[in-house]
């Protein structure tokens, strides 16, 4: 599928992608979290772009963040300080974990970009007052963007952006479902390039290209092979080699609960609701990041049903080193899987990781256990 190359290209050079988008008339606002309301950013005439670490050596960020801060946070700060993100016109920091919270302060204090907003979302997603607060925070964000662009955001602007983002979600959902029915129809590395690329490239381009991917996929439906069916669970997985290693070891990824996977595109914004309410409601309904609270067993329930629905053989936890919210959830998620007789294994990851030998060996062992 030729479309996939475009996604890989966007992933490999987000700077060039942003500059092209800029030339076409949209300035870029970067974000670091799946709770960033892309719809509002897009409706304001900006391009929302998810930031990842370029994995350069940490030099400048050493003066701001200690070594026990996760590689994602340190890596993105390094990129910013080194000028590798100078294509940005601004950034928005939705409130998630403690490390991101402090990154936002450090980012603001060492400010390099014109536009900066802390989007202090609620930590609770399951109460009425939190839902009301969420919507008000989004309304405030809309005003901030209007002030930055000098142009009013109408409900039509918002509805159009919602429809566009929903298109991306629907297409990615189809790709995931097709891949689950026909494991191996798309390589893991390609699958995650589609998701990551859609976070980086122009929204309309991503939606149109994904439509092409969907129709190409529909033409091919290989029968299920003997590969062991895996669900990935964790935070950010930004190392394509990992997916190759899973496949080499005899596994096929049939679903995930990842921040760089389904958590980002899970659920649709209701197109018939008032736009901001719809966006807020989706955050309450979609797969939950462990930095948010949606009930005491919400994440375990989701994970177990994900395994059941996708007829998975096991779960691989990809845990980013120093990521507290995920590390706190791991024992209870594992216990919930154990109770259902579902096998799992935890893999500690690091964005800066260069050798994947150990990962591959452990993955092979795990897959043989299934």
């Amino acid at each position: 599928m030729k479309e996939i190359d475009r996604f890989h290209a966007a992933v490999n050079d987000s700077r060039a992608t942003a500059l092209n988008i800029h030339r076409a008339g949209r300035k870029t606002i970067g974000y670091l979290c799946s709770y960033a309301p892309e719809e509002i950013i897009h409706a304001a005439g900006f391009h929302p772009m998810r930031l990842f670490s370029s994995k350069h050596e940490i030099i400048l960020a050493e003066n701001h963040l200690q070594s026990y801060c996760c590689s994602l946070v340190r890596g993105i700060l390094e990129d910013s300080l080194a000028g590798r993100l100078d294509f940005l016109d601004g950034t928005v920091f939705p409130h998630t974990c403690d490390s991101m919270q402090r990154l936002s302060d450090i980012w603001r204090m060492n400010g390099k970009y014109r536009f900066f907003v802390d989007l202090v979302l609620p930590a609770k997603l399951n109460t009425k007052s939190a839902a009301i607060y969420m919507e008000k925070v989004l309304a405030r964000f809309k005003e901030d963007l209007e002030a930055a662009s000098g142009k009013k955001i109408t409900d039509t602007d918002l509805s159009d952006a919602i429809v566009l983002c929903n298109r991306i979600r629907k297409h990615l959902f189809f790709v995931y479902e097709w891949n689950f029915r026909h494991p191996g129809v798309i390589r893991g590395a390609d699958l995650y390039a589609l998701v990551k690329g859609a976070m980086i490239m122009d929204k309309k381009e991503a939606a149109d290209l994904l439509a092409g991917v969907v129709s190409s996929l529909e033409q091919s439906a290989p029968p299920a092979g003997k590969a062991k069916r895996l669900i990935l669970s964790g935070s950010v997985c930004d190392t394509p080699d990992i997916f190759d290693a899973v496949e080499k070891a005899g596994g096929a990824i049939v679903g995930d609960d990842l921040c760089t996977g389904r958590r980002w595109f899970d659920g649709l914004v209701a197109e018939d609701a008032p736009p901001l309410s719809g966006i807020a409601q989706r955050y309450g309904n979609r797969m939950t990041c462990p930095a948010k609270h949606a009930g005491l067993t919400a994440r375990a329930d989701t994970l177990v049903s994900l395994v059941r629905e996708h007829k998975a053989d096991g779960v691989a936890f990809l845990l980013l080193k120093f990521c507290d919210p995920h590390a706190f959830d791991y024992p209870y998620l594992k216990q919930a899987l154990d109770k259902q007789g579902i096998k799992s294994m935890a893999f500690e990851m690091d964005d800066q990781q260069s050798s994947h030998g150990q990962f591959s060996t452990r993955m092979e062992t795990f897959i043989h256990m299934l």
């Binding site: 200690q66 302060d105 202090v120 930590a123 009301i132 462990p290 507290d324 590390a327």
Partner: protein, 409 residues
């Protein structure tokens, strides 16, 4: 004077404080026999409604500090790691989670909670930690969500937090099957307000040269404002403590016998090394006169209206030291440097506390630029001794004190 200097420097109130804490823990441990309910609450959470409703508040974080001081942290942290919790997680959380299962620690574990109250104004870690405990004990969890005030307190935050204060009261009324007695609430609020004022006054006594007490003493006397805020006990005790400090000032008794250098401490204490650190600095005639940690329990007093307590605590609990932007934290550090007139800043880079430690390096740079005083950063952990290298820290303290001595010549 015939008294030995070692007796003179000893703070008499310490014994009474120990007795008060023992009584408090005995009460908490026998709550069930006395038909009283126990609520576990985060150290930065609003305890006053619990006091007003006759629910015994218990603080896992205070318990963590006790575990650290008793040097039982390594064993309990290890037990949590055996349960699958990463060694990179907060050591208060790790020890508490392990203690619940193995009933270990200096008091054989905390009394079982009837409910959990989690206020995330200090970190996101408490949210995860209390979720773990709510599942373990199978008891209701109330979350008071206090959005971070990076640059200010917005009307949206004010409304959200105020609503949650009402939800909190309803939660407690449902748990106790009793209505809140508003007169009692007012009374408790006034006592809490007074206690916070008194605590600030205790801390302010160290502005005197030489200082009658040190941050190490503050770490100890802190337990009362944390655990029993809103009771008469705290108010009475701190009044006595202030009187003792004032007497020490009048008599010229200092906690460090030949105080020459004054230092400010940042972050939580290194609980298992208090004695060693205290004597290490004393050897250099240096007194840690103040810290950013213990002042957090009176730092937001400006937002409290004692006559309108429930309406004002939303803001007071949301705008505490850790729940603000790093630049505002730096400003508070600068204010303390001036107020206590210190010669240096010692920062504890605490692996267990990310929201406290990330941003420290920016604060360090601001302090250096604006005041020129030397800053030392010590790598450690508040409870887990495996992250502490005594020889390395000793070398760094010696070198740091050398710089200060040369500067102050």
């Amino acid at each position: 004077m015939s008294e030995k200097p070692v007796d003179k420097t000893k703070i008499r109130s310490a014994k009474k404080m120990r007795d008060l804490m023992t009584t408090y823990y005995l009460d908490a441990l026998s709550a069930q026999q006395n038909n009283k309910q126990v609520a576990w609450i985060t150290s930065g959470g609003p305890v006053e409604p619990l006091v007003a409703m006759d629910i015994i508040p218990v603080y896992p974080e205070n318990h963590g500090a006790m575990i650290g001081s008793a040097k039982m942290g390594e064993d309990l942290c290890g037990k949590a790691e055996d349960m699958g919790y990463s060694s990179d997680l907060c050591s208060y959380a790790r020890t508490d989670i392990a203690c619940s299962v193995v009933k270990g620690g200096p008091i054989g574990g905390l009394p079982k909670p009837d409910m959990l109250i989690c206020c995330n104004n200090i970190c996101g870690t408490v949210l995860k930690w209390y979720e773990v405990q709510a599942r373990f004990y199978n008891v209701p969890l109330f979350i008071l969500d206090t959005p971070v005030c990076h640059t200010g307190y917005s009307p949206e935050i004010a409304e959200y937090v105020r609503t949650q204060v009402d939800e909190y009261i309803v939660f407690l009324e449902n748990m106790t099957k009793r209505k809140l007695d508003h007169d009692k609430m007012t009374q408790v609020g006034k006592l809490s307000f007074e206690a916070q004022h008194l605590w600030q006054k205790v801390l302010n006594t160290t502005a005197h040269k030489p200082s009658p007490m040190s941050a190490f003493d503050a770490f100890f006397f802190l337990a009362l404002i944390v655990t029993l805020r809103g009771t008469r006990t705290v108010v009475d005790f701190y009044k006595e403590l202030i009187a003792e400090m004032e007497q020490r000032i009048t008599e010229g008794i200092s906690v460090v016998p030949n105080e020459k250098y004054r230092l400010l401490w940042d972050n939580l204490p290194v609980w298992y090394q208090l004695k060693w650190l205290s004597s290490k600095f004393s050897q250099h005639n240096a007194c840690l006169v103040a810290d950013t940690y213990t002042s957090a329990w009176c730092g937001a007093i400006k937002y409290i209206d004692e006559n309108n307590f429930l309406d004002s605590i939303g803001q007071a609990y949301t705008r505490i030291y850790l729940n603000i932007g790093v630049d505002q934290m730096a400003q508070e550090v600068l204010d303390m440097i001036r107020f206590y007139d210190v010669n240096g800043l010692v920062m504890h880079s605490n692996r267990s506390c990310k929201p406290y430690s990330f941003g420290q390096m920016d604060i360090m740079n601001i302090v250096r630029k604006k005041t020129g005083i030397p800053v030392l950063m010590i790598e450690a952990d508040m409870v887990d001794p495996r992250s502490f290298s005594q020889s390395q820290v000793e070398n760094r303290i010696d070198a740091f004190m050398e710089i200060i001595k040369q500067r102050e010549k």
